[in-house]
Symmetry: C2
Subunit: 324 residues, 2 copies
């Protein structure tokens, strides 16, 4: 972080499937101002970028930060750190297969040439957690984001892994079920994300409710969300509890393979579904340790993000901008 007193602020932007959160951050990691817009109101990325720029300019103006923004960091699904593009983002309304959007360049032009750095949301979250959160001081950990999808940010020797092409760390699309797995948005079947994302949890709920007659609060609901399953679990609903047990088991199995790759000190969970930590922690630990090589058994920590959800994403994305 270079001290530059005439431009002491950065912007962090977190692009999710439904909403886009953005904030102005100072050198101490304080979020001075933040705002949210919808991600899914446009099919056209130009209109969306215009919305982002308008919202940003508004909070910059209102907080008296005009001319003082050093750079903008963006966490986006399928964001490529090397090229600043968003590619094949199937969970974004204005994205899609074979669509390569030069987002960093587009936003920079709209924002009067302020430089923009971009990576995927999970990598940004990992940077945030390493700088301000549960992974402070850790050199080797894996961030797993449990949101609409399952994302990941892998940190090795204190650095986010981007790989040869900028897209490393797609652990939500590793294979959790080889045969007759659930169909994934990516076009394949059995991806971890089809089981362990917020949407995966609702799919589990729908499947199980239709396969059994077990009584459950969830039966009275028309359109079950993962929050409904969480609320039901808090009420002691046995179907909801089993859904989280299954979700944790699937996560733990996959985590044991991730550990065999990079031997991390910890796996840090983040995102909407990570709020269900009371129901996920035990089954994850049990299943991970059952599946780990003996040398790692009972040695790998499972942790939950220590940052306020919106702050972590904004802070992580903003940290990228200091490096511009």
């Amino acid at each position: 972080m270079v001290e530059n007193l005439s431009m002491p602020y950065v912007v962090g932007i977190d692009i999710g499937g439904q909403t886009t959160k953005m904030g102005i951050v100072d050198m101490r990691g304080q979020v001075l101002a933040q705002t949210v817009i919808r991600t899914d109101t446009h099919d056209d990325e130009n209109l969306y970028v215009a919305d982002v720029a308008d919202a940003l300019e508004k909070i910059i103006r209102e907080s008296g930060c005009e001319g003082k923004i050093r750079g903008i960091g963006v966490g986006a699904p399928n964001g490529n750190y090397y090229t600043g593009t968003i590619e094949d983002a199937v969970n974004i309304k204005w994205g899609g297969v074979n669509k390569k959007i030069p987002f960093a360049e587009m936003l920079s032009r709209r924002m009067g040439g302020i430089q923009v750095a971009l990576t995927n949301d999970a990598n940004a979250a990992a940077v945030g957690e390493m700088t301000y959160g549960a992974a402070r001081g850790m050199k080797n950990f894996i961030m797993i984001t449990l949101g609409t999808g399952v994302g990941s940010g892998i940190v090795i020797n204190g650095e986010v892994v981007y790989g040869h092409d900028g897209f490393a760390g797609e652990l939500g699309h590793t294979c959790a079920v080889r045969h007759n797995g659930r169909l994934c948005n990516c076009g394949r079947t059995g991806c971890l994300e089809t089981y362990c994302s917020a949407i995966g949890v609702t799919r589990t709920a729908r499947e199980w409710l239709s396969l059994t007659d077990e009584p459950s609060i969830l039966r009275s609901l028309d359109n079950i969300t993962s929050k409904d399953v969480y609320d039901a679990a808090k009420e002691g609903d046995s179907v909801a509890l089993k859904i989280f047990e299954f979700t944790g088991k699937m996560l733990g199995q996959s985590f044991s393979d991730f550990v065999a790759f990079s031997a991390p000190e910890a796996i840090v969970l983040f995102g909407g579904l990570a709020r269900a930590k009371d129901f996920l922690y035990e089954p994850i630990m049990k299943s991970m340790n059952e599946n780990l090589l003996p040398l790692w058994r009972n040695k790998i920590k499972i942790m939950f993000s220590q940052l306020k959800e919106s702050d972590a994403a904004i802070l992580g994305a903003s940290a990228l901008a200091w490096e511009l």
Copy 2:
């Protein structure tokens, strides 16, 4: 590699269960002299280290390299790069469970203080391939060793991944078959190594021969080895060809998950079984590409080691010493 003309040589040592190979290597990767001793003649690691030092001093003296050795690199089962120790090495006569041998330190003391770096054999092979072989100039690749077991060395940003504890890169023990998988030496089931190692190939052969009546050269053999399967495949034996097709398919499936982790430029195959490249390449490529996320399809190279097999282990270990 720093040019240091007064000390232009390194030593590479490859410790196997039965034999220990060692050699003197120059900056161009030429093995100037090499020798072999038994690994399994002593129960006491001190006597073994004395044997290694005696054998080394002899070839150093004979080749006129006294005082010109920059460092010593060692590839050893369960070798820990961070600590220079060999831990829980159950396949080594002077090793064993709960035995932590400070091998690098012991050898360095015996060799008049020459520095010693140590890691496992697959990591050493990765460094060797990056320094002298197929991965020259690559910053991101995964080395897979197909020998008695399946080992791996992961290179990210030009550095071998050791992880939090020094034991990262156990991809042979990621799960290839979740349900009813084959029993592995590690005590778990379904590990990639139970299908795709030399021993895995012979297990496939035995299973398939007992399950079908298909004619095969292999039926006339008492104790099938992976080399027998390779020889039969070269003769056009359809069962042998199918065994390699299956082995390649299993590798390709797992590789697609490895790519999702570190987005490598290439996966490099090394070891006895990699000699069957003519039978493995196509099925690996087909299955890997079928299972890869669209963004990586047809973009990841599968390569085979370019190191002379007799020198490869020594070269790999020696390459570690350049980094000292």
